[in-house]
């Protein structure tokens, strides 16, 4: 596709010119797999296995999941050492303990320490702990993040504005198969005496992927 189109509309600024435009993301047409999905979907609905409204509701439920669930788990782990231990032993069971549904997810929670910063990636595709963090950000699925963070994690974190202390090692976790990962970051300075809700508000999505650090300044407390 060329960079411009000649449609000659009037901008109201007294001139008439072609200008470049960005093609729509779905402008590529239907691939074989997209056609297959559409056909199976139509058959399932036609045979009343489920309705179009069932499907819409399921998508709406999935899209409604948010990093607030993961942040609650992190905040609880900061205030309750026994919970922290259970969270690191079995992330899915620890989520259910807080009434957070995680479906079939096998969740490994990795804890930052003064010596080690953990970062999550899926180099092969875009595996992500959706039940506890919601939908992944676009950059998490991008080739640049997936290819670079395993090789030069500090450079990638620096681009996110995250500088690591001298002497801290980085451990990158590549979700290549059946497990999903979430980072338990270190509790930030200046949060003594905060309640769990305020602590949870200091934990953003990116902190649990591992590319950012929680900050007392982020919370409304």
């Amino acid at each position: 596709m060329s960079g411009g189109h000649d449609h000659g509309h009037d901008h109201g600024d007294g001139h008439d010119h072609p200008h470049p435009f960005q093609p729509d993301g779905d402008a590529g047409g239907l691939t074989e797999h997209m056609a297959l999905v559409a056909a199976v979907r139509e058959l399932l609905i036609e045979r009343e296995i489920y309705s179009a409204d069932d499907e819409r509701r399921a998508i709406e439920r999935m899209d409604a999941r948010s990093p607030a669930a993961g942040a609650r788990m992190v905040a609880r782990a900061w205030v309750d050492p026994d919970y922290r231990e259970r969270l690191l032993a079995d992330g899915a069971a620890a989520a259910r303990e807080l009434d957070i549904e995680v479906g079939p997810t096998r969740l490994i929670v990795v804890a930052d320490t003064p010596d080690t910063k953990n970062v999550i990636v899926c180099t092969l595709c875009s595996c992500y702990p959706r039940w506890v963090l919601g939908l992944p950000p676009a950059w998490y699925k991008a080739r640049a993040y997936r290819a670079r963070v395993v090789i030069e994690p500090r450079a990638v974190l620096a681009e996110f504005g995250t500088a690591l202390p001298e002497g801290m090692a980085v451990r990158v976790h590549d979700s290549t198969a059946d497990m999903r990962y979430m980072v338990l970051p270190a509790r930030p300075e200046g949060t003594d005496g905060w309640d769990e809700a305020a602590l949870a508000a200091s934990v953003s999505r990116d902190c649990m992927i591992g590319v950012a650090l929680p900050s007392a300044a982020v919370s409304g407390a």
Partner: protein, 96 residues
């Protein structure tokens, strides 16, 4: 569940084969040696699951920890950095 061949701490090397089928051993760990961090359980083999098969026999799945220098040589940022990857047992051999 088949008995797991490797215990945490075991040194393992990833096979260097490149099957044309779907497989979940990323290219950057093939031929590299690391240490078993934990056994995650046993899971259906994606190499048959992805192609209409039943995934049996289930494969023990490990988290294997690699040193950044082992993977990237001089390009690694720091000696102490590590990468942990999930690897199915049939991709692993005992390393000396």
């Amino acid at each position: 569940m088949s008995a797991a061949r490797f215990a945490p701490g075991a040194r393992v090397t990833v096979a260097t084969r490149h099957p044309a089928c779907h497989h979940r051993a990323p290219a950057y760990i093939k031929g590299r040696t690391g240490t078993v961090e934990r056994l995650c359980g046993s899971f259906g083999n994606p190499e048959t699951l992805a192609h209409g098969g039943d995934g049996r026999p289930a494969q023990p799945l490990y988290r294997v920890r690699f040193g950044a220098r082992e993977l990237w040589g001089a390009r690694a940022e720091q000696d102490a950095d590590t990468v942990e990857v999930e690897v199915y047992e049939h991709w692993l051999e005992a390393a000396p």
